[in-house]
Amino acid sequence: MTEKHYLEAELEGLIQKDPEMWRFLQHGSLDGVWYWDLEAPDNEWMSPEMWRLFGIAPETKSHDLAEWQDIIFAEDLAVALDNFNEHCADPNHPYDQIVRYRHADGSTVWVRCRGIAIRDEAGKPIRMLGAHNDLTAIKRLEEQADSGRIAADAANEELRTFAYSIAHDMKAPANTLYSLLNRLSMMMPVDRQAPQRQLMNMSLQTIDRMRVLVDDVLEYTRVVGAETAYQSIDLTNVANDVVSVLAGDIEATGATVTIDPLPTIDADAMQMRALLQNLVSNAIKFNRDSVPPEVQVSSSSGKQRGVIVLSVQDNGVGIPLDMQDRVFAMFSRLHLHDEFAGAGLGLALCRRIAVNHGGNIKVVSTPDVGSTFSVELRIKQPRSETGTEI
């Protein structure tokens, strides 16, 4: 133990000798003080500041225990009494809690109430000294922030639900219209140059685009709207599943999809599938005429510890440098609809999925050579209950 600073020793003496010092500390740092006789528990001296905080004139009060117990919130009194009992039994258990009082004007006053029991030689508590700090301003700000956040969450949820319902409800009429137009088309003149035939083809093209848009919006809202549920995911399995789903496109384009061994990470199953399906299907779709797509799905360790980089590489059309930053924006497209179909939502969804997992997505690309999309993902997610420790 180091020796006390001479000023600390002097101050302790000063406080004992001069009551003005105590009053200064009390007024300067506290919003009320009480001193309670545990041997005659009806008697509790309460400082004038304590009553003023509750909008009550101190001279109307008579230092009776019941006087504060009448205006404290009942559930907070229960917490305080529990702490009081435990503190009496064990000095190491702190008497320290935030409680609410009813102000004379009906409003709520938040008080941090701390106390210390004074014990006799046998260790039995005989008095209790307590101190109040007013936390009302902080608590009010907290409540405002909470209600703002709750309102924002609710509004977001409502928008997600709305987008999902709209997309969902548009799917049926779009499909019906597609079938109707197809039937009508079969009754059309066979002559390809007939104006009816041309208009019909344009109608079919338009409804096809609408179906792509509806499907993509539906997928986007479905993935974004669901809570991210982490579980241990073997990315190799996900990639293999994706390849079988895309078998039709792979065959049609003569694509080769190579899947390197991929790690098992904590991730959301549905989101990982949407991520890989979008990246691999893009890699197949954005091919160069007469160059069969070669797609490689691989992984490497990230720059940071505990992070992997999942990459999907293609030999397709590539993306000009000045366009690379905008491919991840919603509804952003670089091509005409008759060159490459799509609503411009796939990479926006991929970015959202990466961000949901605490990661990010990047692209490196050379026009007419190919693109590599790289997603940084954590191996372990915080508070995750599954997966193996690395």
Partner: protein, 142 residues
């Protein structure tokens, strides 16, 4: 080119259509042809191609540009910015901005910042829109 120019000269001599959608282009060309209001129409599916054309030295004066906003690579707004920077505020007599319903409501305000943009329409382009352009061109002359 318009088929109905036999009797009188159509009031809009040179129009440009910039829209990436092939179907929309065909549809709008039908509307324009049927109106008989346009003498010469050029169409582009990428805004950059329209900009390249405007930068040609011996091109005719352009009465009106019908401009889609939501296009791949160069958007309608980027086209307006680039054309204004290269050619000044009056690279055409009139620009009509064609909005789609998915557009942000702020887009109309953004379009208003370009003095050459005299009209905003919601797609699809219709005959009344062309008639409005004829009125605007008459004001432009006067």
């Amino acid at each position: 080119m318009n088929k109905h120019s036999d009797a009188q000269i159509p009031p809009i001599s040179t129009a440009i259509l910039v829209d990436d959608e092939q179907v929309d282009q065909i549809l709008y060309k039908m509307v324009i042809d049927e109106s008989g209001l346009v003498q010469s129409l050029m169409s582009f599916r990428y805004a950059q191609e329209a900009l390249d054309y405007l930068l040609k030295p011996n091109r005719p004066e352009i009465d009106v540009i019908f401009l889609d906003i939501n296009m791949p690579r160069m958007t309608g707004f980027e086209f307006l910015e680039a054309a204004t920077a290269e050619l000044g505020e009056s690279f055409a007599k009139i620009v009509v901005v064609m909005l789609t319903t998915s557009m942000n409501p702020d887009d109309e305000d953004r379009a208003r910042q370009f003095p050459v943009v005299k009209e905003y329409i919601h797609k699809p382009l219709q005959k009344e829109h062309l008639e409005r352009v004829v009125e605007l061109l008459a004001e432009h002359k006067g």
